[in-house]
């Protein structure tokens, strides 16, 4: 039986700390689902490599955000526009003479913060609504199902731009718009799990010893469906990054004063006529690396967490 103490934080810190302590932990907690998943994840080389690539992206993103890496990426140098590749500018410089590599690096910060905030927001909404609806059933369930069916029936590519029209541009608004529209799948999955779990013996036992609804939902059932949340979080992360790029490309995303891969591709749209490839190459390479690693990581995580895949 899994315990409530093995929260997500435990798993991620453990993965980072990995090898030195693993033996001791292995003996102590070998039978826990989370440890089991961790060891299976560790055996998946592609998963581990992609995890480290993501960590590298995050580290670079943070360093750029605090001003260690490319602090002057947004400072124009009008004279040095469209320089070709060199050691100083590995991808050349853009129309305002800004180093394209530096812009792409700062693009990580934008992408990751959108991914993180938007998928957290959508996860929280999805988890709470899914849990409440699955657990209580009846009218509450009816309402939540109606709500997510309605939201789901509007294509997101229309819904998100219309939300950003209402909220205005900018990083915060983009993440709110994405978060508010992408919780449906999580809610549906969590609701299904709750329906399944709420009448199980361990919940009954908790009920028998006097646990209230809150305790049953968050203390007992939620930990048992948390693996779903992890996978959904990862998938939401990738989707949010892609949506940010698309929105910025369409002129609905972040403020143009913020670096974004979408804006770089928008610049490139005209520049390939020159022909000048710096913006397009840098933005797509950076995006490709992050999204590919995330997808591979998500696959590995799902395999590790899914009990049905245990013996494969």
């Amino acid at each position: 039986m899994p315990t409530a103490s093995s929260s997500s934080a435990d798993v991620s810190t453990s993965i980072v700390a990995e090898t030195e302590q693993s033996d001791r932990h292995q003996r102590r907690a070998r039978n826990s689902l989370w440890w089991d998943a961790f060891f299976r994840f560790k055996r998946n080389k592609v998963g581990v490599i992609s995890f480290f690539v993501i960590m590298l992206y995050i580290a670079v993103g943070i360093l750029a955000a605090v001003g260690v890496l490319y602090p002057n990426a947004q400072v124009p140098n009008q004279v040095e526009a469209y320089t070709s590749m060199s050691w100083a500018h590995p991808f050349g410089s853009d129309i305002f003479g800004r180093d394209i590599l530096g812009r792409a690096v700062h693009g990580i910060t934008t992408a990751i913060s959108i991914g993180l905030l938007a998928s957290t927001l959508s996860l929280v909404i999805g988890l709470v609504l899914g849990a409440v609806s699955g657990y209580f059933g009846g009218k509450v369930d009816g309402f939540v199902v109606w709500l997510y069916t309605t939201v789901d029936s509007i294509p997101y590519i229309l819904l998100i731009p219309s939300l950003t029209f209402v909220l205005g541009r900018g990083l915060i608004n983009v993440f709110i718009a994405v978060g508010l529209t992408s919780w449906v799948t999580t809610a549906r999955l969590v609701r299904g799990e709750f329906l399944k779990h709420k009448n199980r013996d361990y919940v009954m036992a908790a009920h028998a010893i006097g646990a209230g609804n809150n305790r049953k939902i968050f203390g007992h059932i939620l930990p048992n469906v948390a693996h779903l949340a992890f996978v959904q979080f990862g998938l939401g992360f990738v989707a949010a990054i892609k949506i940010e790029v698309i929105l910025s490309y369409l002129g609905l995303g972040v403020d143009p004063s913020q670096p974004s891969w979408g804006l770089m591709i928008d610049d490139a749209k005209n520049e390939i006529a020159r022909p000048y490839w710096g913006n397009l190459t840098a933005a797509t390479l950076f995006m490709f690396g992050l999204i590919l690693s995330f997808n591979l990581f998500n696959d590995a995580l799902r395999e590790a967490l899914d009990p049905k895949m245990k013996n494969k």
Partner: protein, 605 residues
């Protein structure tokens, strides 16, 4: 009035994209086994690109260049410019000869050509267009004045025609209607129109060339009501035959108007026109084309690629394609020349500027702040970056080629100088930008416009001013300006007629937004001199006043003066009679497509 985008698309070499496109076309042809020619040998259709989405086709709201271009094909007014002569010469259009002007200059008597019919439309009895009368003009001009219409074109008559403003006030109070007579607009008979002015108005003949003053059928306005802007009925060479010919945000097809009057290609031109073959069609009936297709393509690259493929008969050169399209600043690139494309360079008679909302509590009252921002803006770099050098930094509103532009004048606040800008900013009360709230720049959402906005924000950041960028569609953008909700905005003004007054009216307080004074600038001193200048005929005395006006707006800096552009465009080899006109929208009727040549050349593209 015409507002134009600041970022007029201008022109490129064989790119990867072209190769891909060519490949795709080749594959498509191979798959379908298609051998159909791209252009029919008898098809005389003109194909034209529009860089924005159309707002609607009501002449009383034809205030942006692109809507006016389409409206100008459907609707007609009393006068027009000679197609070939330069400087521009007025000539009658629907008027039968030039007007008779009374000695005091206050009464204009127009004879209207007989037998001119409206385009056929369901609004008329039996669907057949009826003959126009002088009353139709009176009706159309009352529409401009009607406050319920919120017309963007009323400025052309505002306060100028006896009794018209009074009529508008009475309409507002519901004490008058369209049948109430106006003293200054009378029709003694069906073909005579008498205009009585409140004062001398030297620009009257010019504004009568504009689509605003075009003749409108009362039946159509009354039948369609609010939908009138989607159901145009005019007398022009082309017409919208059926609703489905207009696909919103995509294209509009206008067909030849079978009721079109007898109109002939001019037989005299400017010196040198005969040598260029521009008089070969002299005396032939107009229009030459059977149809015009206006394609609304907002992004510059698809427009350019379509042009290169022969899908447009003429098209602008985008900044990123300039190097591959133009050699030595004045010659067309050999690859394009080999496709018998030609380069046309015409000064644009315009000014691009960045306007400040003078009603804004921060910007409106702080002259030093506006001057500081003006000095922080580097129009030379703008011109090299965004116009490939195709323009000159403007020192005032009047472009070269129009009386009132003083050669050699240097506007002290239009000079890029970061140090002086910083000093002025400190004088404005915001040393290094401290205490100044974030300002908002309104632009539109295409790539070039965004880059322009970024450029402006960077220039301001250099002296410590924070600027947030908002992007809008072209109609949204105009809405914001009309509603005085735009704080800072980048836009351009193209001359409606060749007179500096057309630029100075942009500062006249009575024209404030939603009128053409889109910064809502208000200076009693300016107004006084401007009103004085209106009374003067062209000449030295008036030019002196124009210089005074320029000095006032240079000092007050409601605009950051940016550039006067040179228009570069490419014309396909099969287009004859091509002479670019910067004022007026009549040119398509004169253009003649050599359809055989187009079929032949088009097949090779």
């Amino acid at each position: 009035m015409k507002q134009v985008q600041r970022f007029r698309p201008h022109s490129q070499s064989t790119t990867f994209l072209q190769v891909v496109l060519a490949g795709a076309v080749a594959v498509a042809l191979a798959i379908t086994g298609c051998t159909k020619k791209r252009f029919d040998e008898k098809d005389t259709t003109l194909n034209v690109a529009l860089p924005v989405n159309l707002k609607g086709l009501d002449p009383s709201n034809a205030n942006d260049q692109y809507s006016a271009t389409v409206i100008g094909q459907i609707y007609e007014g009393l006068l027009q410019y000679n197609y070939l002569k330069r400087p521009f010469v007025l000539e009658p259009k629907l008027a039968d000869g030039m007007p008779e002007i009374s000695k005091d200059g206050l009464t204009y008597t127009f004879k209207i050509k007989k037998g001119i019919k409206f385009q056929d439309n369901a609004a008329f009895k039996d669907g057949k267009g009826r003959e126009i009368t002088a009353q139709d003009f009176i009706y159309a001009w009352k529409r401009l004045a009607d406050p319920r219409n919120t017309s963007e074109g009323f400025w052309i008559f505002d306060g100028k025609i006896k009794g018209l403003n009074e009529w508008a006030t009475a309409v507002k109070a519901e004490k008058a209607n369209y049948d109430t007579p106006v003293e200054g607009l009378t029709a003694p008979d069906a073909n005579t129109l008498v205009i009585k002015l409140t004062g001398v108005y030297h620009q009257l003949s010019y504004v009568l060339t504009m689509p605003f003053s075009a003749v409108v059928a009362r039946e159509a306005v009354e039948k369609y009501g609010k939908e009138f802007l989607n159901n145009p009925v005019g007398t022009g060479p082309f017409m919208l035959v059926k609703e489905s010919d207009w696909v919103r945000n995509s294209k509009i097809t206008l067909k030849r108007n079978p009721n079109f009057r007898s109109d002939l290609y001019p037989s005299e031109g400017a010196p040198g026109d005969a040598e260029k073959g521009l008089l070969a069609d002299a005396g032939k009936p107009l229009p030459f084309a059977d149809a015009i297709v206006f394609s609304e393509i907002v992004e510059s690259q698809p427009r350019w690629q379509n042009g290169l493929k022969g899908n447009f008969d003429w098209f602008d050169i985008p900044k990123d394609n300039y190097e591959s399209a133009v050699k030595n600043k004045t010659e067309i690139a050999p690859e394009l020349g080999a496709k018998s494309m030609a380069l046309d360079i015409t000064p644009a008679l315009d000014v691009t500027y960045i306007g400040f909302n003078m009603l804004d509590p921060v910007l409106g009252k702080n002259k030093a702040l506006r001057q500081a921002m003006s000095m922080a803006y580097d129009s030379k770099t703008y011109i090299s970056k965004f116009l490939n050098g195709r323009g000159i930094p403007s020192q005032g509103p009047i472009p070269p080629g129009i009386d009132g532009n003083e050669e050699g004048y240097v506007n002290p606040y239009a000079q890029f100088d970061v140090e002086k800008a910083k000093a002025l900013l400190a004088k404005a009360g915001f040393p290094e930008g401290k205490g100044l709230p974030e300002l908002t720049y309104e632009g539109f959402s295409d790539t070039n416009a965004r880059q322009n906005a970024e450029f402006f924000a960077q220039m301001m950041a250099a002296i410590g001013i924070k600027v947030k960028i908002n992007s809008n569609t072209w109609p949204q953008f105009q809405e914001k300006i009309k509603a005085q909700k735009a704080q800072i905005f980048g836009i351009a003004w193209g001359a409606d007629y060749p007179d500096a007054q057309n630029f100075y009216q942009l500062y006249y307080s009575k024209n404030k937004s939603p009128g053409p004074n889109d910064t809502s600038y208000n200076s009693p001193e300016f107004d006084k001199i401007y009103e004085e200048s209106l009374k003067l005929p062209p000449g030295e005395a008036r030019t002196k006043l124009y210089v005074k006006l320029r000095d006032i707006v240079a000092e007050d800096a409601p605009w950051i003066f940016n550039a006067h552009r040179l228009g570069y465009r490419i014309r396909q080899g099969w287009v004859n009679n091509f002479k670019w006109t910067e004022v007026g929208y009549d040119y398509p009727k004169y253009m003649r497509v050599d359809s055989k040549l187009r079929a032949e050349l088009g097949a090779k593209f």
